[in-house]
């Protein structure tokens, strides 16, 4: 580009090269600063979350510095107890795992059928699942609560998992269908020649090849489930079934909520999901990118 550009911006050929280099270096600096700035915006609440988790309750109300002046572990320790971490953590994990596994089983199968198998009604059915995307959560939340009350599963973890799984349907179907459609047809044909049945082709040929998409769907299901608050709030009554967000809510609802405890609790709640994301993000991004391109 430097050699070809007829450069109305470069009056003298001599200094043009050097000026262009300084300009490029300057541009790179500006880009770096801007990117770092948004990175700061992005993690700003976490910085304060961590900061407040190490402050005592007098320092926390003064706002003040990001670096605690009297850092203390007491806040984290006492919050850990008051949050009933292990009880709520196990509940959260249970709900998250059940939701993710059910989602994978149900929509991987459905995606396989939509992508590979020919049957009457295929297009209409797949459109039906995608159109579910436009049904507002609040519109169906009340009927779900009433229905589950009738079925006797309101307030149980199954009562959370079923609507969660159904709620992920549009995205999961889209991603899984896309991933399976990208698998070369020849593999299916040769598996058939070897005498493999449909179930065998699905589990032995297609599922292993769709691993990034499976992990993406699992993460896109697990992360919002971990953070989910609304449906759990209206359907769970018994504290022994509470998930971590509800535990956090009870901290906040105390007569005098202490922000240091609240932030320590918030930190404890988000750390597992951050760890999950960081350990699987390599697959996550590639799976998501593949889905968008497909």
């Amino acid at each position: 580009m430097t050699t070809i550009s007829t450069a109305p911006a470069a009056p003298s050929a001599h200094s043009a090269d050097g000026a262009a280099r300084t300009r490029r270096r300057l541009a790179r600096l500006v880009v770096g600063v801007l990117l770092a700035l948004y990175g700061l915006v992005s993690i700003y609440p976490f910085l304060w979350m961590v900061s407040a988790a190490f402050k005592d309750q007098y320092e926390v109300v003064r706002g003040g510095h990001l670096i605690p002046q009297h850092p203390t572990w007491d806040t984290l320790v006492s919050t850990w107890d008051r949050l009933h971490f292990f009880d709520y953590f196990l509940n959260s994990v249970q709900v998250m795992l059940l939701t993710a596994v059910l989602t994978l089983v149900i929509y991987a199968a459905a995606g396989y059928a939509f992508a590979v198998l020919r049957f009457p009604g295929r297009t209409a059915l797949s459109r039906l699942f995608v159109s579910l995307l436009f049904v507002p959560g609040i519109t169906v939340m009340l009927p779900i609560v009433l229905l589950e009350n009738k079925m006797g599963i309101l307030g149980t973890h199954i009562g959370l998992v079923l609507p969660f799984v159904n709620g992920t349907a549009p995205l999961s179907v889209l991603l899984m269908t896309g991933a399976f459609a990208a698998v070369p047809k020849e593999l299916r044909d040769s598996a058939r020649v070897d005498g493999a049945g449909e179930l065998r082709i699905f589990t032995r040929v297609y599922l292993p090849l769709a691993r990034p998409a499976l992990i993406t769907v699992a993460l896109l299901t697990a992360i919002p489930t971990w953070n989910e608050y609304l449906l759990t709030r209206v359907s769970l009554n018994d504290p022994s079934t509470y998930t971590l967000p509800l535990g956090l809510q009870t901290l906040a609802a105390e007569s005098v909520p202490h922000y240091n405890n609240l932030m320590a609790g918030a930190l404890i709640v988000v750390i597992p999901v951050i760890l999950l994301f960081v350990s699987l993000q390599r697959y996550f991004v590639s799976g998501l990118v593949g889905a968008v391109k497909g």
Binding site: S42, Y44, P120, T139, V165, N166, L230, A266
Partner: protein, 341 residues
């Protein structure tokens, strides 16, 4: 449902697998060779269809119970008056819709006020999200070394977007919170909000919009980044040969090329602005003085916080109006996208 099956059937039969037409159709038309015997065509096709139904059955069953039933139930409920406890519904026809839109002096003004707030959110969030995430993706696309790391940092808000991080925002926006402190240190003390950013009726809604955008940028940025990395490099080179600088080629070449992504980003955020309210529930609960009350929150209140008042039908009606609005927006968006590509 059976009607859907029937109507789709001829279209399906007409175009199986693309190419390779022929009376033997079936799996052979899919490119399958295994059952190439001419007699197996029909039964193989039947077997494949049966397998197809078996594979989608769990999804369909769950959808019928959790999706169709609840949607149908909610729709019916929107024409009735009920408090959730009495054994019978009182049918009011379209009365609920009239009540929340103009008729009932207790509900209509609140709903209209919430609608105005929601409208601001629906304008502010998509526009700001695009304004932030597109340049961010362009810059990130040029940063080769730190890209992976920065992408993760930018994605953090999505991963944690739940009640925990909204409490953190509430803390930061307190009267003595970090934002006010920061402004003071930067010498911008006049911008400080002594009542806190969520306590001042004038700043509460804009602040909520900014927090929502903060949560919406990660996905939008990632979508844009994907689109940018899919752009053919020779197009940009051609533009540069024609003398277009960085700014010009970004504005005139890249931006039009990612228009479909902009459309998706706008649609997702419109939908979320129209229907989402968890952030508002956790951070302001509609306050101060209903200045951040949005339609989703109002529907939630009508459905779950009215105890014995017969407002469940009203909540349902409001939910259906939200659904209709979302659908209309989606269609407009789709039309705008189609006419330009």
């Amino acid at each position: 449902m059976s009607a859907a099956f029937r109507s789709a059937a001829p279209a399906e039969a007409g175009a199986p697998g693309g190419g390779r037409p022929g009376p033997l159709g079936g799996p052979a038309a899919d490119g399958g060779q295994a059952s190439s015997g001419s007699s197996g065509g029909r039964s193989a096709r039947l077997r494949e269809a049966l397998a197809g139904y078996a594979f989608v059955a769990p999804a369909v069953v769950l959808f019928c119970v959790m999706g169709l039933y609840t949607v149908g139930y909610g729709f019916t409920l929107s024409f009735a008056q009920w408090n959730g406890f009495t054994p019978h519904w009182t049918w009011v026809g379209l009365g609920n819709y009239a009540d929340i839109l103009w008729h009932d002096p207790r509900y209509a003004p609140r709903v209209r006020h919430a609608a105005v707030n929601t409208l601001w959110v629906m304008i502010g969030v998509p526009v700001l999200t695009v304004v932030v995430s597109f340049p961010l993706a362009v810059l990130l696309n040029q940063a080769k070394r730190m890209q992976g790391f920065l992408r993760s940092v930018y994605f953090l808000p999505y991963v944690t977007s739940g009640i925990a991080v909204f409490f953190a925002w509430t803390y930061i926006l307190q009267p003595d919170g970090a934002v006010n402190t920061l402004l003071g240190q930067l010498g911008l003390g006049s911008l400080q909000q002594p009542q806190g950013w969520l306590g001042n009726p004038d700043t509460a809604l804009p602040t909520m919009i900014v927090v929502t955008v903060w949560g919406a940028v990660p996905v939008a940025m990632l979508l844009y980044l994907t689109g940018l990395q899919g752009i053919d490099g020779s197009l940009l080179e051609a533009a540069q040969l024609d003398g277009a600088g960085w700014w010009r080629s970004t504005a005139s070449v890249v931006w039009p090329l990612v228009r479909p992504i902009t459309s998706i980003v706008v649609l997702l955020n419109l939908r979320e602005s129209l229907q989402g309210f968890q952030t508002f529930l956790v951070m302001t609960d509609g306050g101060p003085g209903d200045h951040t009350n949005v339609l989703g929150l109002e529907a939630y209140r009508l459905a779950f916080l009215k105890d014995l008042a017969p407002t469940l039908g009203l909540a349902s009606a409001l939910g259906w109006l939200l659904f209709a609005a979302a659908l209309i927006l989606a269609l407009i968006n789709l039309r705008a996208l189609r006419s330009k590509t």
